[in-house]
Symmetry: C2
Subunit: 335 residues, 2 copies
């Protein structure tokens, strides 16, 4: 295998960007379809994607299974997988989890920076762990095959989710806190809990998650990756670039504030730099994905390891995560 | 083939009724999931069905394709296909058609008794034909594979739909007006338009659609069916019983009034008989489905014709109707 998967992007989508996915050799991209949207608002985002799928079938199609990634490769297209960075699309209704899975949602964060109905976000002062509904929702996500993503959640909530989930969970986009102590980057006990239970972590190319920000070098990034592989093994890492290509700054403002505050929230930015940070010059868009292979090779990782990191690990995770759990009642019915 | 399909029911669903489907040998049932519900309300009905599918996997599962009917037969279960008797689940949003198709909706009426955004209902005094949005919606339903059902629509709208739809349409549940001149039964030009363009009509066992109502005999019903076969050929008829088993009268009141009036509407009933009429004693529930075969045999129809009428015609129609239309852009992408 040598599949190429980016397990998180939220670009200002256009035919140009879909063409860049092809130019960069991406077989699959996990795209965010909700930050703060309600159920109905998220369905409107699905409708926008359906028009893009209808208008650009030569470039993209919606992915539902790992098999769709292989099909994408065979057909020279990119499979687009849906995810939500907040549980807002299920509102207070656990029944919407199965509905969303049917509509193709494959990742859902239990919280986005703030406390949710399910878990605590990484910007809260206190993290009391998973809520009552959070535990029910994890069980239901496990049942239908919707991946628990804890990228923007707080430590205790994340560790509890990794422990109680009967299927591996993910941190689709973050880097190690030990490399760059950003609030969004993950401390060792969190990384250990996620990867130690079979889960995946995708390394982020978002400047606020990088040591030296926009000035981070490809070499520094790849050396961090190589060190993580040395510490935790090759099997549980991939890329989740968090590429927000072409978005106006009004979007990052909305990502941070949603409808939860009338005030100002700079998130990972600051009063002096409230907007999207500039991408490092070696990862400006999807066309630069192949550069990651070069950078990783320079650290001494071999071809198989590089393939694992750039897509094959995510593909294995997709294959074991996106289908329904073996159900005792189904098994009984089949007897 | 000798499949058994009932192409419309709206019962007060329960494990008992699902067991009766099995006892009656039903391989597939088309069930109504919306009369007046909005998008979100209809999703709540899907959620209820998802719980029934989860709780009774030995009896039922959701059907999406004709192949699922064959699978149902092989596994001794009944495939449940979703339909809407009103376009209310798409509200004013054409993008919801593809979303609903993904969620498994396979039939949608363009109107239910009243004028809708799309077409005229059979209780309106005037029928100006398909609306602007109605024509757009038919094109989109044709594209994704959602069947246009005109059971409760007015004549001109129905004939126009049959003519402009590029794929065969359906009247899932009605009888000929020439046999019993109920407002809901279909006049010959309507039946000719629907069946003449490859469409299907399902004969109804709802007493208001039967000559002599609840007192209609099996023989009279089957002789009507045999006459229709003689006039229009065997290929375009099936059963859509309109069985509303176990529903309280509050439900038929809601079916008629929805939220569109504060007044009284008796629909096919009357002030003296406002509730659900009693079923004829030879078709009380799903267990009586096999009696239809006996009744049809008594009219002289042969085994192959009876199989066609009781399920095989619907199965052929499902196979040609539920998938996406061949798309020029898809074809181009595959080149």
């Amino acid at each position: 295998m040598s599949y190429r998967i980016d397990c998180l992007q939220y670009a200002n989508w256009s035919e140009e960007i879909f063409r860049q996915m092809r130019a960069g050799g991406l077989d699959a991209v996990h795209v965010t379809i909700a930050y703060h949207e309600t159920f109905r608002e998220t369905v409107l985002n699905v409708e926008r994607w359906n028009r893009w799928f209808e208008d650009h079938p030569d470039l993209i199609f919606q992915g539902f299974t790992a098999e769709d990634v292989r099909r994408a490769r065979a057909e020279g297209r990119t499979a687009i997988f849906f995810g939500a960075q907040n549980p807002s699309p299920i509102e207070d209704d656990i029944g919407l989890i199965e509905v969303w899975h049917r509509l193709g949602l494959r990742f859902m964060q239990l919280s986005y920076n703030n406390q949710s109905l399910l878990a605590t976000g990484c910007y809260e002062a206190e993290d009391p762990g998973l809520t009552r509904m959070g535990r029910e929702v994890i069980r239901e996500m496990n049942r239908v095959g919707l991946v628990v993503d804890m990228s923007h959640s707080a430590d205790r909530s994340t560790i509890e989710a990794a422990e109680m989930s009967t299927r591996p969970i993910a941190v689709t986009h973050a880097n190690p806190h030990s490399w760059h102590p950003a609030l969004r980057n993950k401390r060792d006990p969190v990384i250990r809990a996620v990867t130690g239970t079979g889960g995946m972590m995708g390394f982020s190319l978002y400047p606020h998650h990088l040591k030296d920000g926009s000035g981070c070098s490809l070499r520094a990034f790849c050396e961090m990756v190589a060190r993580m592989v040395e510490s935790y093994g090759i099997d549980h890492f991939g890329i989740g670039s968090d590429l927000c290509q072409g978005q106006p700054d009004s979007v990052v403002d909305w990502m941070r504030r949603g409808r939860w505050t009338k005030g100002v929230d700079y998130g990972e930015g600051s009063a002096g730099a409230p907007g999207f940070p500039a991408q490092p010059d070696w990862f400006r868009d999807n066309r630069d994905f192949p550069r990651l292979a070069e950078g990783l090779a320079a650290t001494g990782l071999d071809g198989g390891e590089i393939d694992a990191l750039l897509g094959d690990n995510w593909l294995r995770f997709f294959a074991e995560s996106f289908g329904p759990a073996a159900d005792r009642r189904e098994a009984r019915a089949a007897e």
